[in-house]
């Protein structure tokens, strides 16, 4: 088990390294000119060269990568004698725009993504599995058709549409809710909750569809299994048959997808939701950094998200081993 974990983590590290290399070369090889952007409109050639030098952009790309890679483990110092920025290990670089270490910004923004992602994930998995189970049990009946119809709507709408609609209806028109946004839970728990209701609802509407359909089909498959007939043949009540014997088996494939979704969401993939509701999360950070050609931040957000997805993979495998006794983690 421990050996398996170590092996998986090593493999994850290798994957992350590959992602780092690819992202680095894609963005740093692009014909963008961050130095010019940083320099502003009235920029003399000598100032430009200075900035290029201080950003390290005058070096060869291989050297730049090596500096970056080294920084991950030992940290880095940026700038010249006048302005000196220390970026401690693991250093993901320093933003061209704000001169703050990328990791600091990421960690500042992370609680917002964690709140948004985890909250929504718990809600959509509970609701989705519940609805899917009801639909499977009532297959072909009204409840099934309603659940499937709902799922269909959820699949076809777009996040920004749902988000803006909810905002317009509940905040502007009916004024049931205060404006959305992120308040740290440590500052104001009630505000934290209220501000996130709509973003959560938006994500739930969009993700619910998939989980409902997944659970429904997984459940229906399980219903046709022999062991379900055995469960009935024992004289178990219908509820126990469905919830204990059925759900226990049907949930297994859902765990995998749920793990990935959670990893991606808290890694900052709820970009559109963040921007619709004005949440300063990692998704928004990523979008801004692309607009500003802020290469270190682009790289940092990409790596951050990738780390969560890769780690989610490892966690999913471990959980799978616990849930399915037939899987031997060795």
């Amino acid at each position: 088990m421990l050996r398996y974990l170590v092996r998986r983590l090593l493999a994850a590290a290798v994957i992350l390294l590959v992602i780092t290399v690819i992202t680095f070369f894609i963005f740093f090889a692009l014909p963008s000119n961050p130095a010019l952007l940083a320099c502003g409109k009235t920029c003399s050639p000598s100032r430009l060269a200075e900035i290029r030098h201080s950003l390290g952009l005058d070096q060869g790309i291989a050297t730049q990568f090596w500096e970056f890679f080294k920084g991950l483990f030992v940290g880095r110092d940026y700038g010249d004698q006048s302005v000196r920025i220390h970026c401690g290990a693991p250093c993901l670089g320093v933003s061209f725009q704000t001169d703050t270490p990328v990791l600091t910004t990421l960690l500042d923004d992370f609680p917002a993504d964690l709140s948004l992602g985890l909250g929504a994930a718990v809600a959509f998995v509970v609701l989705g599995v519940g609805l899917g189970t009801v639909a499977a049990v009532r297959r072909g009946k009204a409840a099934d058709k309603a659940a499937v119809g709902l799922a269909l709507v959820g699949v076809s709408v777009q996040i920004y549409f749902v988000g803006l609609l909810l905002l317009y209806l509940l905040v502007d028109k009916l004024q049931i809710l205060p404006a959305s946004g992120y308040t740290p839970i440590t500052e104001d728990p009630a505000g934290w909750f209220q501000g996130l209701i709509l973003p959560w609802a938006t994500l739930v509407i969009v993700y619910l569809a998939m989980y409902t359909r997944l659970t429904r089909s997984s459940m229906l498959e399980v219903f046709s299994e022999d062991y379900m007939r055995t469960a009935r043949a024992k004289g178990l009540p219908a509820g126990t048959v469905v919830l204990k014997h059925g759900l226990r088996a049907a949930i297994t494939p859902i765990i995998t997808i749920f793990g990935m979704d959670v990893g991606a969401l808290i890694g900052g993939s709820a970009v559109i939701t963040e921007s619709v509701f004005g949440i300063n999360g990692i998704g928004k950070l990523a979008v801004d950094s692309v607009q500003n050609s802020d290469l270190p931040v682009i790289l940092g957000t990409t790596l951050f998200a990738a780390t969560f997805v890769v780690l989610a993979n490892v966690v999913v495998d471990l959980v799978y081993g616990l849930v399915d006794p037939r899987v031997r983690l060795a």
Binding site: Y227, R229, A231, R232, K234, D324, R326
Partner: protein
């Protein structure tokens, strides 16, 4: 058609009603292609301590019959009619709640493939204990002890350790033993074994059959053994019911049916019995042709498209007139549905024996 339901001699005036009395059972499934008549007018009786073997090829309606005995068609689209009397109670019309109380406790079932019939995510012990706790108000600990005890009874070595294993950690034979332990955990009065040995190799098959027989003696249950292999029931059954296309074609005591089979389909089954000696997996002379459609059963005798003896019956009666289940003279309750005359049968059987002797 004869509704005669028992091959056992019964004293009409004084005999109590049979323990299990199935009368004209029909299980039909409406499907897009038409009405599937999986079981169509099947009757039989069974006493406590006795064993009935239900024999027939794949698709002859054996499993559907057994599921009806457990009331497992309730709540599905299956249309069930007829009567199933168990110990004075009629099961076909019984509400699901009451049927559920009988399932696993009074009537229980051993399924064909223990690997798929046991839940892969629960330990064997938990599954047996669960079956006990549904019908008994006992603590988890007591139920677990009972599970260990049952595993010991069915001959699983080190039951107190194996009780914690998952089904996939058991061998095929052990899984079937565990399945048997689970089905007997509440001392059922009626045990149905649906092809209990098909998934097992021959030596294990014999062990499992011995086990069922021993346990039956111990518990005094009535047992229905379902199989497509007459060899399986030859040793253990008191009565044999041969099914074809959802109907009875022959029914009688095991002695009568095996010694003097009356129906060409039974002859076919007997000839296709795997021989215990020699190459075990080789089946001799399987019946040519394939099982009939249950939506459009062939007219006349349902077996006629595959019957090699229909020529012995004059005027092509086999294709137009459905043979009735008639009593075989000189026997108690042996019935068969075939137009062949007694003389023809004797002659054909003689030929077969002569050929087999060569």
């Amino acid at each position: 058609m004869s509704l005669q339901t028992s091959p056992q001699p019964a004293d009409v005036t004084t005999a109590p009603p049979p323990f299990l009395d199935v009368r004209d059972l029909r299980v039909h499934f409406p499907t897009e292609d038409g009405l599937v008549r999986s079981v169509d007018g099947v009757s039989f009786t069974l006493e406590k301590g006795q064993t009935l073997g239900i024999v027939g090829e794949s698709g002859s309606g054996k499993s559907v019959t057994s599921l009806a005995l457990l009331g497992l068609h309730k709540g599905t689209r299956a249309q069930v009619s007829g009567e199933i009397w168990l110990d004075g109670r009629e099961l076909v019309g019984l509400p699901e709640q009451e049927m559920r109380a009988l399932r696993g406790s009074t009537v229980s079932m051993i399924f064909q493939d223990p690997l798929s019939a046991l839940h892969p995510f629960f330990t064997v012990g938990a599954q047996i204990a669960e079956a006990y706790r549904v019908h008994h108000r006992v603590s988890k600990k007591e139920a677990r002890d009972r599970a260990v005890e049952m595993l010991r009874r069915v001959g699983i070595p080190q039951p107190e350790l194996r009780v914690k294993d998952y089904p996939h950690q058991f061998s095929g034979g052990m899984r079937q033993r565990a399945m048997i332990a689970m089905s007997l955990v509440c001392d059922p009065a009626l045990l149905i074994a649906d092809e209990p040995t098909t998934a097992l190799d021959v030596t294990v098959q014999a062990q499992i059959l011995d086990l069922i027989r021993d346990l039956q003696e111990e518990f005094g249950s009535a047992v229905v053994i379902i199989t497509h292999d007459l060899g399986v029931v030859a040793d253990v059954a008191d009565d044999i019911l041969v099914m074809y296309g959802g109907r009875r074609v022959e029914y009688g005591t095991a002695r009568d049916v095996l010694k003097q089979p009356e129906h060409p389909y039974t002859w076919g089954l007997l000839q296709s019995m795997p021989q215990i000696e020699g190459d075990v997996s080789r089946r001799l002379n399987p019946i040519p042709g394939s099982p009939p459609s249950l939506i459009n059963l062939p007219g006349g005798c349902a077996f006629h498209p595959r019957c090699t003896y229909k020529g012995w019956v004059p005027e092509g009666r086999c294709t137009v007139e459905r043979p009735e289940l008639l009593a075989v003279s000189g026997t108690a309750g042996h019935i068969a549905a075939c137009h062949l005359t007694a003389e023809s049968k004797t002659q054909i059987r003689g030929d077969g024996a002569a050929r087999a002797a060569k």
